[in-house]
Amino acid sequence: MTYTQTQDSLTGGVPDQGEVLRLLEPDGSRVADATLDPWVSDLSPHELRALHRDMVLTRRLDAEGVALQRQGQLALWAPCRGQEAVQVGTALALAPGDFVFPSYREHGVLLGRGAQPADYVLAWRGEEHSAYDHTTINAAPPQIIIGAQSLHATGWAMGAQRDGSTDVAVAYYGDGATSQGDVNEAMVFASSFRAPVVFVCSNNQWAISEPVTVQAKYPIAGRAPGFGIPSLRIDGNDALACVAAMRWALDRARLGEGPSFIEAVTYRMGPHTTSDDPTRYREPGEVEAWAQRDPIERLEAYLRAEGILDDSGLDEVARAADALAAEVRAACIGATTRAPETMFDHVYAEPHAGLDRQKAEYVDYLAGFEK
């Protein structure tokens, strides 16, 4: 549903938690939506195949992350299975100059931005805090402090605005994050300065063990309008809806109409991270029900029905996915830990006598063992 700030009687109109905008039904059949339709009418078969392909790649990559963790190659992994549509769909809508501020779970967004195999895993392995060069893929380091990146995105957008560019910043975060002060302050700043920023909230129903109802008794998308930010509540397992909503938001931003908010209603099929045991807090039935709304199967059904994708196309994608997984695995297993004294580097950009001394002392100390 779409939300804006409105006046109403006191008793009126809290929308049902379930109402979302969509273009694809769970079985893949195409439905009309006046708000979203215009934004995907020009999607070519090629683009649709790319959308599907990146989702499959993301799922495969994610499975590889889980496997690598199980094998002791990674310290941790935050699975994104089930959330491929919102991650890939929104990333696909971006222009190269746009800049994303992801959380730790946005593997599909990084993929959409062109991340390299090592980029996905080195941080989870404990080799680096952040592996990739933010300027190469126009993505900030994954954010672990819940919600903090929403302000960074807003500030970056304020900069883009000052530069007179049409670049847009995108903040990705979860349903749990919406409770944080930072996320709300970001809406205040974005609205006040009409910053070209898009807030993408992946409402995957859970913040670790807490159901979304702990954070919000009413749809999250209903908050932004109160700050003067239009919002859409979409089916986050419908890749077409995700592309469309993102294009709507990006277009607003590029036209100088300011920030937008997207609540993508989706589901975290896996555990919170590989350290988590979701059987402690949720029913298997719930997971099964969401499995019926799988974003990849849904898009596949649609593309097959439209004649855009066939078995051989699917095979090709599966092979690409295996290849990516192999590359990621190789990048992970082949990683070497850097020399200990490098941990003193890049604390400061400019020389720092005190720290240089600490480094020198530690190098001497280590050298003592070699004698």
Binding site: H129, I144, I145, S179, L355
Partner: protein, 333 residues
């Protein structure tokens, strides 16, 4: 006596506190059904209900700020911050409200709040999950700051913290959560050593190691190793970081004349700085050599593959022991 892990000992302490006083309640992220990401609150919501073991929205300022209100209403909230690195969003509420309300109200308002923080590194965790923020709180007047180093202390000090009418920042060394020790679950709080006293964890005569939290174990290991070299180290477990029990520390330093202070947190203006300064002020004429600090480097916590070079280990402590002992042929090698 019962053999319990440090995590289980805290669970037992929380359970006892909930049992003994209706006004005690627990708040935090994922502490209910899940029992906390470290399972420290395991089973407590089931036992005491969702009104007393409360899963809160994901907002640390909110958790601490509402706990302040609950305290004003007569409750004794025990708040869990999920990891050390997530306490900062609540910093304003802790420093300006929790720490100051008793003072601000000329003693009329009490803040019997406990803020539990799974703490520090060495467990291969992701960024922001291995922080040692204790110095920030030690520098803040109005707070009490304690750190448990073993299950028995964890159990007793948790209960003492809940019983205290002052706000207590309660640090739980996460790399010891699974380490076991004997706990006297029926211990009378009145007989237990008060929370603010340090403990001589090991007696020795040649030099003193002052430390706290998980580093106590490392220091004891160092003392064992030194013993093999004929060096007798005294190890002090501070237990309380604010106030610091300088009587116990100074007595030891006056005896040994040599001291190594160690912690995981960064050195600059850390708790070690306070210790060295206070020791120098109070034991100047007893010191044979300058005190040594063995601390985390003045860097953000590094990626976990490098953490063993950051968290002071036995070797780095012995290296410093050599220096305070002015040994050419070191204990270390």
């Amino acid at each position: 006596m019962t053999a319990l892990t440090l995590g289980a000992a805290i669970n037992a302490g929380l359970s006892k506190a909930l049992e003994n006083d209706d006004k005690v309640l627990l708040m935090g992220e994922d502490i209910g059904k899940l029992g906390g990401v470290f399972r420290v609150t395991d089973g407590l919501q089931q036992r005491f209900g969702a009104q007393r073991v409360v899963d809160t929205p994901l907002a640390e300022a909110g958790i601490v700020g509402t706990a302040v209100g609950l305290a004003l209403r007569g409750y004794r909230p025990v708040v869990e911050i999920q990891f050390d690195g997530f306490v900062y969003p609540a910093f304003d509420q802790i420093v300006c409200q929790v720490a100051k309300l008793h003072y601000r109200s000329n003693g009329r308002i009490r803040m019997p709040l406990v803020i539990r923080i799974p703490w520090a590194g060495g467990v291969g965790a992701a960024e922001h999950h291995s922080e040692s923020p204790e110095a920030y709180f030690v520098h803040t007047a109005g707070l009490r700051v304690v750190a448990a180093s073993n299950p028995q202390d964890a159990y007793v000090m948790l209960r003492q913290a809940v019983a205290s009418d002052d706000p207590v920042i309660f640090f739980e060394p996460k790399r010891l959560y699974h380490s076991k020790g004997e706990v006297d679950l029926d211990a009378d709080l009145a007989d237990a050593p008060p929370m603010h006293l340090a403990r001589v964890a090991r007696e020795g005569t040649d030099a003193t190691i002052v430390t706290y939290g998980a580093q106590v174990r490392t220091a004891l290991d160092a003392a064992l190793a030194a013993e093999d070299e004929g060096v007798s180290l005294e190890v002090i477990d501070l237990r309380s970081l604010s106030p610091i029990d300088m009587n116990t520390v100074a007595a030891s330093v006056r005896k040994t004349g040599r001291v190594v202070v160690t912690h995981e947190a960064a050195r600059e203006a850390g708790v070690g700085a306070e210790l060295v300064a206070s020791i120098t002020e109070q034991c100047f004429h007893y010191l044979e050599t300058p005190p040594q600090r063995v601390t985390g480097h003045d860097i953000p916590y590094p990626p976990s593959k490098l953490e063993k070079h950051h968290v002071p280990d036995l070797d780095r402590i012995l290296f410093a022991v050599d220096r305070v002992l002015e040994r050419e042929e070191g204990v270390l090698r």
